[in-house]
Structures are given as structure tokens and as C-alpha cells.
Amino acid sequence: MAQVNATFEINPTSGVPIYRQIVDQVHALVAGGTLQPGHMLPSVRQVARAAAVNPMTVSKAYSRLEVEGMVQRVRGQGMEVLPPGQNGTLDQRKQQFRETIEPALHRARQLGLNRTHIREVFSSLLQDQPS
């Protein structure tokens, strides 16, 4: 079983709760390809010791990731990264995307862009993306 030396950059004095920082960083490491399906997350104890934070906080982050379907608990071995795509229903994923772009649309209106301008920008962005 591949054990990845993924370490988290935890800043306890940030306004972002520590468990949130870990959850976000696992998302980023998976998105960036550093963590791949089958890889194991570092153990709760390793993370807690390295960052000098409460192990319960690390457990909480891992439990959230498990609920999200990002990882699964493997008995006696820890947390294994799962293949992507099964995280939430289509409706839930659409809703997440909606929440991401809503503020951007508002900003566009403040910049004085009309619907046509916004559609143009969006289409050109979509065209640049690999399908």
C-alpha cells in the first residue's frame, strides 16, 4: 500500500478551523495529483505530532473526508484515498458549482458587464478547458 509523504501545512492561529485546513489540503493534494487513489493519508498521530495539534482535531478532519467519500477507513492501516467522481449526487455537485460562481456573477455586474459579456467570457473559458 502506497504511503505518501503528504504533509499538511497547518496554521493554528488562522481563522480557518484546523480540521477545515486539513480537509481543504487533502482536496488540493488530490486535485493536484499528489494524492492518488490507493494512497494512504498520514496517520492521525503523525499529523498531530508534526503540527503539535490535538489528535482529535485531525480525527475530525479525516471523518469529514470519509463522509464526503474522498477516503475510506481501512482497518489497521488508516485512511485510503478513493477514486474521484462518487462524491455527492449530480444535484449536489451542481449546487456546489452554483455557490462558487454566484459571487463572480455579482462582481461581473459591478464591473458593468451585461449578460452577453458574461456569456462570452464563460464560453471562452469553457472552450479553453479540455473536455
Partner: protein
């Protein structure tokens, strides 16, 4: 066995006509690490002393492991460790002797663990206690409170006199003690960054009452600062429900809210035709906002 490690019910304490605690309700579940925050003179030490039976509540009650704090059995005390703000011990004894003297009171004293702590923290075992610096004395106090590996550890400003490196080592030791066995910790501090590492719950004491008691994560997720930039000048009537602090200047406003909700932002965007950005606050900033904030 799931009784609270510490339970305070409508705890009220006055010194003469001065009411320091005005009705505190607090349950400390086993396995919790609670950080107690409060301004100078807010009553943190009084709360801790009442909880442990070192002061008698004026009204209300305090209990430890289900026993009345004022009348704790030896068995309950055996499971309890306490580091007072000012460690009082015997100035004529050598540190080694104070440790041996304290050890004699406990059935389960872990001497190898104590030796290890003393080595790790460079405790001068042959020095007389009276000659120690405030920081060294506090370190000895911590060693004495940890030696019997208590189920409940209560620390009143444990790190106030320690340098940053000693503080970090102390926090690591606390975290190691939490790893593997269920322990309850209550500690008061001014140093919010320590609390952010170790505590899972936080209680904020102000005006003799608990202004907040809950999960640290929840507090960070609920208290946010919003920066608002409207297209038109904001009216004098500008207000935000649940705001801790609110500053308005022309088209800009800065608002700290105690109960953040994404709908609030959507509402504000609509109502004021404004751009709203949401900023996270760390514990120190939250404490200042709650302490100095004025309702607007």
C-alpha cells in the same frame, strides 16, 4: 462512567459586595480539552478555584467526578491534577525532595515519567525551590501535577511564565498525554494561539457570565468579518442583525457578525447592491471583537 468531569450549576461567587461570578453553568464531558478565556479580572481563577473546591460558592454548586467539590474524597483527588497560577511549595526543600514529598501522597505515581519530564524540561533537581525563577517554579508545578497522570488536569495560566520554546514543549507533552487515553483538561490562558492548538472547546468569560461556550471550530465558523462596498453611500440606518461591531464610512462598511450565514451575505448583496467579502477571524480577533464590540 459518562458523568461530567466538572459540573457547575448556577455557580455564583461574591467577595463582600463584589459579585465575580453571576450564575455559571458548565459541563465538562470526559475527554474534553476546554480553554477558558477572559480579560484580566474576569473571574477565571475564581471559577477554577470554585470548581475544585478551593473556594466555596456563594450560591449554586460545583462538582468533580460527580462529587461535591467542597467535599472531595481522596479517590477523586487522586484522579485530579492542578497547576495554580502561582505555585506555592516549600522554599527550603530541594526540587528532588519536593517531588519525592508529593509522590508520597499518591498511590499511582509514575516516577519514570516524572524523571523523563524533568530531563526534557531541564528541571534543576538539586536546587532549592526558593531560589528558582518564576518560570522554573511553574515548570516544577506542572511536573508535580502530571506525576500521577491524572484523568482531569486543571491549569490556571500554566504557561504565563514560560518562554516560547518551553511553552511549545509543554503543549507537546499535553498532546502526548491526550493520545491514547481519555483525559479531561481545563486550562485558562491569555495566549490564544496555545489554546487554538490544544483545545477543542472554548469558554469565554465576561462580566461574570459565559459569553460563549462551545466548539472552537464552531466559534471560528460562526464569527466572521464582512467588508461591504456598496454602489451608493450607505444610509445611517445601515444595520446588520447579530452584529458584534459595525463601522460605516461612506460606501464602505466593516461588520463583525456572531452568527454568520451565507444567506446574510446574499441578503446584503441584494438590499444594498453591494459587494460583500467574508473574512475569517482567529481566536484572538474573535476575543477582541466580543470583548470590545458594541452592538450596532
Amino acid at each position: 462512567m459518562n458523568e461530567p468531569a466538572i459540573q457547575l450549576k448556577q455557580l455564583q461567587k461574591s467577595f463582600g459586595s463584589k459579585e465575580v461570578l453571576r450564575g455559571i453553568d458548565l459541563d465538562l464531558a470526559p475527554g474534553t480539552v476546554l480553554g477558558l478565556l477572559g480579560a484580566n479580572g474576569s473571574g477565571k481563577t475564581t471559577l477554577i478555584k470554585c470548581a475544585l473546591g478551593l473556594l466555596r460558592p456563594t450560591t449554586g454548586s460545583a462538582s468533580v467526578f460527580g462529587e461535591d467539590s467542597w467535599d472531595l474524597s481522596a479517590a477523586a483527588k487522586e484522579r485530579l491534577g492542578y497547576v495554580p497560577q502561582e505555585v506555592a511549595t516549600y522554599p527550603w526543600m530541594r526540587v528532588r525532595q519536593v517531588i519525592a514529598y508529593t509522590a508520597a501522597f499518591y498511590d499511582k505515581w509514575n516516577q519514570p515519567f516524572v524523571d523523563e519530564l524533568c530531563g526534557r524540561w531541564h528541571v534543576p533537581l538539586e536546587d532549592r525551590v526558593g531560589a528558582l525563577s518564576t518560570g522554573q517554579l511553574q515548570t516544577v508545578g506542572i511536573v508535580l501535577a502530571l506525576g500521577h497522570e491524572p484523568d482531569l488536569l486543571v491549569l490556571d495560566e500554566p504557561v504565563a511564565s514560560l518562554d516560547p520554546s518551553a511553552r511549545r514543549q509543554f503543549l507537546r507533552t499535553l498532546l502526548e498525554m491526550l493520545d491514547g487515553r481519555e483525559r479531561t483538561i481545563l486550562f485558562s490562558t491569555h495566549i490564544t494561539s496555545d489554546l487554538e492548538r490544544v483545545a477543542d472547546r472554548v469558554a469565554i468569560l465576561a462580566d461574570g457570565k459565559l459569553r460563549f461556550h462551545g466548539e472552537l471550530d464552531e466559534l471560528k465558523e460562526r464569527v466572521k468579518r464582512l467588508r461591504i462596498t456598496a454602489r451608493r453611500e450607505l444610509p445611517a440606518s445601515f444595520a446588520v442583525p447579530g452584529a458584534l461591531r459595525c463601522e460605516v464610512a461612506g460606501v464602505h462598511a466593516t461588520v463583525s457578525v456572531a452568527d454568520f450565514d451565507q444567506r446574510l451575505v446574499a441578503d446584503m448583496r441584494q438590499t444594498w447592491d453591494a459587494e460583500v467579502s467574508v473574512h475569517d477571524l482567529n481566536l484572538e480577533e474573535i476575543f477582541v471583537e466580543m470583548h470590545d464590540g458594541t452592538i450596532c
